[in-house]
Symmetry: C2
Subunit: 430 residues, 2 copies
């Protein structure tokens, strides 16, 4: 953890170092992934079979290519009732929030008599990657699948590695609640390639979303354009703005809720009170000592944690915009005034009773958010990621006579005479 | 040109071949581009200087790094009046159409007492790539720059190669009309890298848009995530649906307006009348013989053109959806009924007096559209490409008591005790 005081002479440089620090692994897997993608494109299911045997150590012809519907239903039925209620509350709140994102079609006829508009439709099929192992979260299944369903996507195909053939019942239950149509036991770059190109068994999809390791992320990047993809995700991060009126134990818990994700996660406290800062640092140590995920959280806090002491909380605003954090928690009395002046953040948690974790599960907005300063230009996952817009234009002879000559002039100037001719031939047409 | 009749036994296979034909060059420039990008990141302006000398054969320290504002103003002032009027009409119609795309912020407080919402903001800076040579179109400058301006982007930096130091006055005039802030004389993968990473002279941008060759497209793909990018664009294409009530010369002109772009462009006619099909084919030959861009258009029409004869125009719908064309022209009496049943197209031109070319210049909707079957999942360029959404959540103690326990249950089930603790510590808090 680094502790910086904005009044120290080295603050600007130290803060820039914090902003520029790369926490993402620079594994160069591009060539290995390209080879896998090419193989799946050429060989289809045979490649999936062989690669799954090699990387996940099970034979798809024995374990089954898909997790049968009955197994997914059974996983849901055997959930503890409080857990099932929690997943269903989360699903219903996520569906409700995302339903309001559905864009409206529109059209109008303007003064020149030109009818113009835009129409939105869902993609036909979406693919959802769900990692195996540590990062296999049922909440992520809900957050990735429900926006697709709300968009109106007809077919939702999930892929997930099942090392040794073992499935994760919580993930299966979440897939069942979210309305996932197919669950395939394949993972890694080969699963992304299968969703993008299609194989004999797995039909091609149009958009592929979901988190994954460096191989999965690189496969998505390489196949961008063959399919639509969501933003490449990096390590998770939070910026907490808190004044001395907070309970330092609450603030410490907020910082650790990011730190426990992964050693590469980042938690940053911005405060205007040095004594409060000390109290939070102490509470972090206390909680680390008893936390079941303490080893990971301690590693993250030691390597990437930061406490910044500012003259006033107004000083936080430019720092927040440079960090463009995935999560921003404003634990102050009047969070809206500060929020109005912030430009770049993925999701904002307003007030002292809005811990970021409530947004990870049940608040409703998506928890798939831009990381690594990408909130400068990117948004959280939404219904729009599963839809596309078709613009349309309709002219009659009179409208074309009004605006057509300008098109002819521009086409001629650009050296495109057939463009010009297709308009000119219709002028004065009626 | 291939001519297919839907009643022929080989139709299904021949149509599939048409859908799957790859017209995009498979130039493998990934490694060369990666080297250029890495060099610009490490060496900044020195790399731009050396690469511009090598590829564009001019010395930036002599020609100047930027095109000065005075030169851009002079280019605008010296335009022929009808051309200036045409560019200004186009700019004003494009701005008007795109202004209606601006999303609205929203918030509400739900039954559980949870306040939820989303807020949109423009990115700080956008980069616009404008190719040199044949594809340097002033209309593209307007179509790429104006949505950024409408979004509210504060800084718009254009990069364009000026081989031998020569600039294109039409492009400069369009940049001036569109409100471009900076015009840099750099091109290729190195220009994209400069916009993404920043150099000593060129400040980093947040989103990079605009068409380019294989090197530019690969640089954008590699830098996706460092900055936001628009969809990778391939060769242009049109599907024209026309019945026998059309003048075959009009339909021929529409097909050739795509074909003249490039030998890789594609024009497809769908009709329900074989005699009309023959008349169009004949009119295409007649027009090719006199067209100034006839050599290119003939090459495109020969290699990629197609006329498909269908029993009725209803048969066009599934074919259109498989082609997912960039441009779809419906030259029939009741185009809306057919359009309502089409799922996948970039932009649709309704009726007999709406040639696609009117949309390239002055109609208002964007002409940067998804190509190569990407209308299945992608949309034309819009104001949204230059904005990002921040979600927000606010709970009070009572709301947290209502939905917090479900978050605690899910966090525990996912093995994330610090997430659970950050909620649990606040429950029953007041």
């Amino acid at each position: 953890m680094i502790r910086l005081d904005a009044r120290d002479p080295g603050f600007a440089d130290a803060f820039s170092a914090l902003v520029d620090a790369r926490r993402e692994a620079d594994e160069d897997v591009a060539q290995a992934v390209a080879a896998i993608v090419a193989r799946v494109k050429a060989e289809g299911d045979a490649a999936l079979h062989e690669l799954t045997l090699r990387f996940d150590r099970h034979d798809l012809d024995v374990t089954g290519w898909q997790v049968p519907r009955a197994e997914r239903r059974a996983a849901l039925e055997s959930l503890a009732p409080d857990l099932r209620d929690a997943l269903e509350l989360a699903a219903s709140r996520i569906a409700d929030y995302h339903a309001r994102q559905k864009p409206e079609d529109g059209e109008r006829t303007d003064a020149a008599g030109v009818r113009l508009g835009a129409r939105w439709r869902a993609v036909d099929a979406a693919g959802l990657y769900v990692p195996g192992g540590r990062a296999a979260y049922p909440s992520s299944v809900l957050m990735n699948a429900i926006p697709a369903k709300v968009a109106g996507v007809g077919r939702l195909a999930m892929v997930t590695p099942t090392p040794g053939g073992e499935t994760n019942p919580l993930v299966l239950a979440a897939a069942e609640i979210a309305g996932v149509d197919e669950v395939w036991r394949v993972g890694g770059a080969q699963a992304i390639a299968a969703l993008a190109w299609g194989t004999g068994r797995i039909a091609r999809t149009d958009v592929v979303v979901g988190p994954g390791n460096a191989w999965v992320a690189e496969a998505k990047r390489q196949l961008y354009g063959v399919v639509g993809i969501d933003m490449v995700a990096g390590p998770s991060e939070i910026v907490v703005v808190a004044d001395a009126a907070n309970d330092p134990r609450w603030t410490a818990a907020d910082l650790l809720s990011q730190a426990e994700h992964d050693p590469t996660s980042q938690s940053i406290l911005l405060t205007d009170d040095a004594t409060f800062a000390d109290a939070v640092a102490e509470a972090v140590e206390d909680q680390l000592n008893v936390l079941r995920t303490g080893a990971t959280a301690r590693e993250s806090w030691a390597a990437n944690g930061a406490i910044l002491i500012l003259p006033t909380l107004d000083h936080a605003i430019p720092l927040i915009d440079r960090l463009a954090p995935e999560h921003l928690q404003l634990a102050i009395d009047d969070p809206d005034t500060l929020f109005a002046r912030v430009r770049h953040a993925g999701s904002v948690f307003l007030g002292r009773h809005t811990p970021e974790a409530v947004g990870d599960y049940v608040a409703g907005p998506n928890h798939v958010l831009p990381t690594g300063r990408r909130a400068r230009f990117a948004s959280g996952l939404s219904v729009l990621d599963f839809m596309k817009r078709t613009s349309f234009i309709a002219l009659d002879a009179a409208a074309l006579d009004r605006i057509g000559p300008a098109a002819v002039a521009l086409a001629e100037a650009e050296g495109l005479p057939a463009h010009a001719a297709s308009v000119a031939i219709r002028l004065g047409g009626r």
